[in-house]
């Protein structure tokens, strides 16, 4: 049993996001927040109270929101553009491509409650495409924290990185999976568990479920390596190639369509060290109605599903 999982209380990473944003803003008055009537869903209340004039609410207008963010960057500010991930990405895709990425502005796009965090609200409010959509855009860094500690570090790093960054932050409760002394390294995988039989590569909200699968496999005498991928782009090629070389295969685990992390890993593997893979995530379908926990289990994005996928790879070896 992974020690960090001993601490079972669940956290809403939006708390860590806003706490860090306020802390950064205290020391850097270039930092502003841009929202689309999303103060509540972004949990930005504390920031708004502390810096009312630095919270720019453009109303329900995502194209304007991202464009205004780029303009604020041009004007010397460091904008954190925060909105529900589904609307931020789908509605402002060209602004993300042109105003943020192609223009290489120092601006941070914070996609709130992505994946299926808004499960019952239906596919229009699910953001299961965002990782696949954004990872193809040149010049954009994509960070997907797995817990509060990583969220804090990711926000702090993005504030200091002179380029466009997308950070995925969810309301879904997650346990802390990283140690308290965790240090975020952009572009680097985090080895949460050593192992040489099979590799589990997970990102964001479901890293804890991959660790639980590793526990289950350990009970069967299988040593599973668990890599947490806080950075989806650029992806850690070296860590993935070692995994392909040293274990029987790779299972990717994500709260997204498997063209996201799964696709990103596959694209590295086939070019550098072909190996068998299994994708755990949302298959090629719009999700039905249900709570996020129900949906994750429905799609087998849980310990049992990940362990089963790992056993398939072990059987091939």
């Amino acid at each position: 049993m992974n020690p960090v999982l001993a601490e079972r209380s669940l956290h809403d990473c939006r708390d860590a996001w806003v706490e860090e944003l306020v802390r950064l803003a205290e020391g850097d008055d270039r930092i502003v927040a841009v929202v689309n009537d999303s103060v509540g869903s972004s949990k930005l209340g504390p920031f708004q109270q502390r810096f009312p004039e630095r919270l720019i609410n453009v109303g329900i207008a995502e194209q304007d929101m991202v464009g205004v963010g780029a303009g604020l960057a041009n004007g010397g500010k460091v904008p954190f553009v925060s909105a529900a991930a589904c609307f931020l990405t789908a509605r402002a895709m060209e602004q993300i491509k042109v105003d943020a990425a192609y223009s290489q502005h120092h601006m941070i796009l914070v996609g709130q409650s992505p994946g299926m965090a808004y499960g019952e609200l239906g596919p229009t409010h699910h953001s299961i495409e965002d990782l696949s959509w954004l990872r193809t855009i040149p010049g954009l860094t994509i960070v997907v924290p797995a817990d509060p500690v990583e969220t804090t570090h990711a926000i702090r790093w993005a504030a200091g990185h002179d380029g466009p960054v997308f950070v995925r932050v969810s309301r879904m409760g997650v346990p802390q999976v990283n140690p308290a002394d965790y240090q975020f390294q952009p572009g680097k995988a985090v080895v949460l568990r050593e192992g040489n039989d099979v590799t589990l590569v997970a990102t964001g909200t479901v890293v804890a479920r991959a660790l639980a699968a590793a526990d289950e496999l350990a009970g069967e005498g299988v040593s599973a390596r668990v890599l947490s991928m806080p950075t989806i782009k650029p992806i850690d090629t070296a860590a993935l190639v070692s995994a392909a070389r040293e274990t029987c295969g790779i299972v990717t685990v994500e709260e997204a369509l498997t063209t996201g992390l799964g696709g990103a890993v596959a694209e590295v593997i086939v070019r550098h060290h072909p190996a068998a893979m299994r994708f755990v995530g949302v298959p090629d379908t719009f999700a039905p109605t249900g709570s996020v926990e129900w949906l994750l289990d429905h799609f087998g994005i849980n310990a049992a599903g990940v362990a089963a996928a790992a056993r398939e790879l072990l059987a091939l070896a």
């Binding site: 009537d37 999303s38 103060v39 509540g40 869903s41 609410n57 453009v58 109303g59 329900i60 207008a61 194209q63 304007d64 589904c86 609307f87 789908a90 509605r91 808004y118 019952e120 609200l121 239906g122 596919p123 229009t124 409010h125 298959p283 090629d284 379908t285 719009f286 999700a287 039905p288 109605t289 249900g290 709570s291 129900w294 429905h298």
Partner: protein
């Protein structure tokens, strides 16, 4: 793509307090204006009762925006629109699109009371595999014309439907309800420009003008005023009505198509959370879920109303 939503959801009649729910159906053709208004008033009362119970049971919903739009919905479905459950296939029937899809519970309940949806299905609201998720989907409910939820989609779709009607010289009218905060989306202004230039007289845009959006008043977020001037300058025939006055709404809907040949924009002045005392005009109730006590109080206030 596998359409998992086709699976029959598990119905649980105990999900919400079983409440007398009559499928009232349309206002009888021979009804007097007074009888029609009484019929609509009763329908609105039943819809609000069921709506708040559904939201309470699901633990999710948008009661404020649902209660502000209920009177508009029942007036359209039970009287103003030429649309009945047994003639859904008629190309010349009227069309309705709820662009502010977050008020789905009000639409589902109205569809049920109008006979477009089996009342039992309301019990599945937001349940696993339910056809009734938090926002209406055309692939899940036959009477729903457009899948909405992301704001700013319904109006362009309504314009397309109206253009098709005009190409076919069909008498059908297309009604679309947008939220006031929703009008901050530029896609709506693109669509209004298109509607006016195509002289879509059979298009009627109803603005649920409750003056509040998700986190604050519209005026404190990105003000729309002067809204009438904006809509007129975009070529619309603008009408102001009390969005809770069934008689006034009936008159406004009857006036479509306008003699001017312009598309109609009805600014329906409403109160978010109407008529519940503790919800009315209170932004806190955009998507707050009522407690059992609050449901009970709302119920008694609805009786009194």
């Amino acid at each position: 793509m596998t359409i998992e939503e086709d699976l029959v959801p598990a119905l649980d009649p105990n999900a919400v307090p079983s409440d007398p729910f009559v499928v009232l159906g349309r206002v009888p053709d021979d009804a007097t204006e007074a009888q029609a208004v009484a019929h609509l008033k009763e329908a609105a009362r039943l819809v609000r009762r069921r709506d708040i119970q559904m939201v309470h049971a699901a633990g999710l919903g948008h009661v404020g925006g649902e209660f502000s739009v209920v009177d508009i919905l029942v007036t359209l479905y039970l009287q103003a629109m030429n649309m009945t459950p047994d003639h859904l296939g008629d190309p010349d029937r009227d069309r309705f699109i709820l662009s502010k899809g977050h008020a789905a519970a009000a639409l589902y309940t109205t569809l049920a009371i109008a006979g477009f949806l089996p009342p039992e299905q309301l019990f599945t609201f937001m349940r696993p595999l339910s056809q009734l998720n938090g926002h209406p989907a055309r692939t899940k409910i036959s009477a729903v014309e457009a899948s909405t939820g992301p704001l700013g989609h319904g109006l362009p779709i309504a314009v397309g439907t109206a253009v098709a009607g005009k190409l076919d010289a069909s008498p059908r009218r297309t009604f679309v309800v947008v939220g006031d905060g929703e009008l901050q989306e530029g896609s709506n202004w693109e669509a209004l420009m298109t509607a006016a230039n195509h002289r879509l007289a059979h298009l009627c845009v109803v603005v649920d003008r409750n003056r509040l959006q998700q986190g604050a008043a519209v005026a404190d977020t990105n003000d729309l005023e002067p809204l009438g001037d904006k809509l007129r300058s975009f070529g619309m025939e603008v009408v102001d009505v009390n969005g809770h006055d069934h008689q006034a709404l009936l008159a406004a809907f009857r006036a479509v198509p306008a003699p001017s040949g312009r598309p109609t924009a009805i600014i329906a002045h409403t109160i978010k959370g109407y008529p519940i005392s503790f919800m009315s005009d209170n932004v806190g109730w955009h998507h707050k879920v009522p407690s059992s006590e609050q449901v009970a109080q709302a119920m008694s206030e609805l009786e009194a109303s």
